[in-house]
Amino acid sequence: MTTLALIACLALGVAAEPGSIADRIAGAAPGDVIEVGPGVYRERIRIDKPLRLVGVGRPVIDGGGSGDIVEITAPNVEFRGFEVRNTGIDLDKENCAIRVLAPFAVIEDNVVSDVLFGIDLKGAPDSVVRGNRIGGKDLDVARRGDGLRLWRSDRVRIENNEIHDGRDAILWYSNGVEVRGNVAHRCRYGFHLMYSDNVVLEDNEVAENSVGVYFMYSHTLELRRNRLVRNRGPSGYGLGLKETDRFTIEDNVIVGNRVGVYVDGSPFTSKKPGEFTRNTFAYNDVGVTFLPAVRGNVLWENNFVDNFEQVCVLGRGELTGNEFARDDRGNYWSDYVGYDEDRDGLGDWEHCSERLFESMLDREPKLRVFLLSPAESAIEFVARAVPAVRPEPKFSDPAPLMQPIAAKASAERDARRGPLAAAATALLAVGGLAFVVARSGLGLARETT
């Protein structure tokens, strides 16, 4: 009995105060592999020689709620399999869970939770950040730090990470970065590029952030097969483009945002048109918003499905400098009213946006409160019937598609057919019951009267 208790005590002791990781790093030679067993390590770590630090059984490194936790100052460090948690909350000092200050780092398969800044790469080119889960502190957005930040770190690969409840995942002055298969939820900006060129973002899911993806002052960008869903902050763009150049936006699914894509001063030069193709813009408040001076974009083979406003020109203007078709292929518009008599898959009439209520909204945003009311439909009806009040078309698509293009990135969530069927049954049952009561009450009522 006593021996058992003694062993238990020992085991607990070991679990509570394992040998310090910092000591083992100090004692290691460059190139060594340090395996760290499970337990909670309350310490700060600086890795100043090329080592592989491998957590076995997900050891926890706890910062105790102040300062930074892990700092990597030597190149060629690998850091994997840990849980790093509980940084300070000092925004001035940018308290950070894992800070990398040297190139060729591999940060993989870590859980980073309850932190101000998650993973911060400063001058760490050619690094890999893969399969980490980064969760911010439960703070007001203005007091949060960035879940992931790159500063002058070229050719970094960011793959299959999950970032939630942070401020931004942001790239500063980092060229040639590849961002693939990540998930960003409930942050301020899902992914934010500042002065970062030749960046590729593919197969990411960016949902329920204030803004999904924002490109600023960058060029040669590819955004492909991403899902930008329900980003509904005060500006609420699925994708924002500010003075961005040479970009290709294709095969994305952009759904339920306040504004699907917001285009401001992009493309910045006339070197290459801004290309938007095979994207699906669906159920956003506004599909695509252009600032009036924007020109040089080409949109073809996109689906515009039931956005309250499909295309908006802020401050009223025309989109003459932009094209809505390439090689005689336009876009699919759910509100297209024409037909396809020659059956070539293209509408025989060009698609013009000339909805009266929409143009009223552009002029007086307060009127949005009448969205979805029958009065809105009445106004559209009047506009169709009386050409005199029909607004000037904002743009025209000369070759509208009759069928939507099949999306490559899917915005489907888990099938919930069962509950819907149950709801249907419940409603039918309630209605049926009332009906049956009425019928069976028939005989009784006849007797009473």
């Binding site: 499905v305 979805l372 029958p374 009065a375 915005a411 249907a424």
Partner: protein, 294 residues
């Protein structure tokens, strides 16, 4: 049902006068039976269901290959339909009730029974309300069934919420209809008034308010306050609020309401609609108590 049963047995025994509750239940059952057998009920239910199915089918189909069902505007489309049909249904049903009884000479006969006038009014109201509930839930239930069969991923909760709120809207509009019914002498006038009111609520007030917003540059809080005066707007905002968890889709006014009232918003909407249920019905009761039945 059991209440109704006891009513009959008590009446047969003749031991004591029936209670107010049993009176109301018996009158309600009569009204419900009449309503369910009547043409308007069948017609409205059919029209509502057919249009609802069309909306569901089209919106489930529109997203088609785009792979974005489940974020759809199906519920929003149904909401638009409810806004059009349910008030018309409830207003005309309410307006037709007492007025037609009076026109057919049924009212003096009914009031010759040992029942209070408010019992008659309440019984009629509840009977019609139940008929409307049946109509609304059958219609929306059928839509949900079609959506489920088409593999649409509409949130089931949103349809149930829509049904519940539609029933509350129906109660309010029925209440207004009853008031119309009590103050008019002829059934045709009552129905005409109901249709006029419907037009005013569905189109008139909104269009007027739109014009007012532009002409007088209404402030956002004034606009929101005025919207609260229209039961249809309240229903719409409440539905969006519970279904989408947000009315920010309604632009500045929605964002203002959300920022200012936050979680109290549901209670504001509930209070506004409850007023539309209680006030007209109370007025109707007061007027009906004084008026001659012929």
């Amino acid at each position: 049902m059991t209440a109704a049963l006891t009513v009959t047995s008590d009446d047969r025994a003749g031991s004591r006068p029936p209670s107010a509750l049993s009176n109301v239940v018996a009158l309600g059952m009569r009204q419900l039976r009449d309503a369910v057998r009547s043409r308007w009920f069948a017609l409205y239910t059919l029209a509502f269901t057919a249009l609802g199915l069309a909306v569901s089918y089209v919106s489930a189909h529109a997203a088609g290959g785009a792979g974005v069902s489940g974020f759809g505007r199906t519920t929003a489309g149904l909401l638009n339909l409810v806004l059009l049909i349910v008030p018309l249904m409830a207003l005309t049903a309410g307006a037709g009730s007492i007025a037609s009884d009076r026109e057919r000479g049924m009212l003096p006969y009914l009031l010759a029974q040992p029942i209070a006038r408010w019992e008659l009014l309440l019984g009629t109201y509840l009977g019609l309300a139940l008929a409307l509930f049946a109509s609304v839930t059958l219609g929306l239930g059928a839509c949900a069934a079609v959506l489920a069969a088409m593999g649409e991923r509409t949130d089931p909760g949103s349809i149930v919420w829509l049904a519940v709120l539609s029933c509350i809207l129906a109660l309010g509009m029925l209440s207004v209809g009853m008031l119309v019914s009590v103050v008019t002498r002829r059934a045709s006038v009552a129905t005409g008034t109901a249709v006029f009111l419907w037009l005013a609520l569905v189109f008139g007030t909104d269009l007027g308010l739109m014009a007012g917003t532009i002409a007088f540059k209404l402030r956002i809080q004034t606009l929101f306050g005025l919207c609260l005066a229209n039961p249809l707007q309240v229903f719409k905002m409440w539905s969006l609020h519970v279904i989408d968890a947000s009315i920010d889709v309604l632009g500045p006014a929605g964002t203002y309401a959300l920022d200012t009232w936050g979680s109290a918003l549901s209670w504001i909407f509930a209070g506004a609609l409850a007023a539309w249920v209680v006030v007209p019905l109370g007025l109707a009761t007061a007027i009906f108590a004084r008026r001659s039945p012929v």
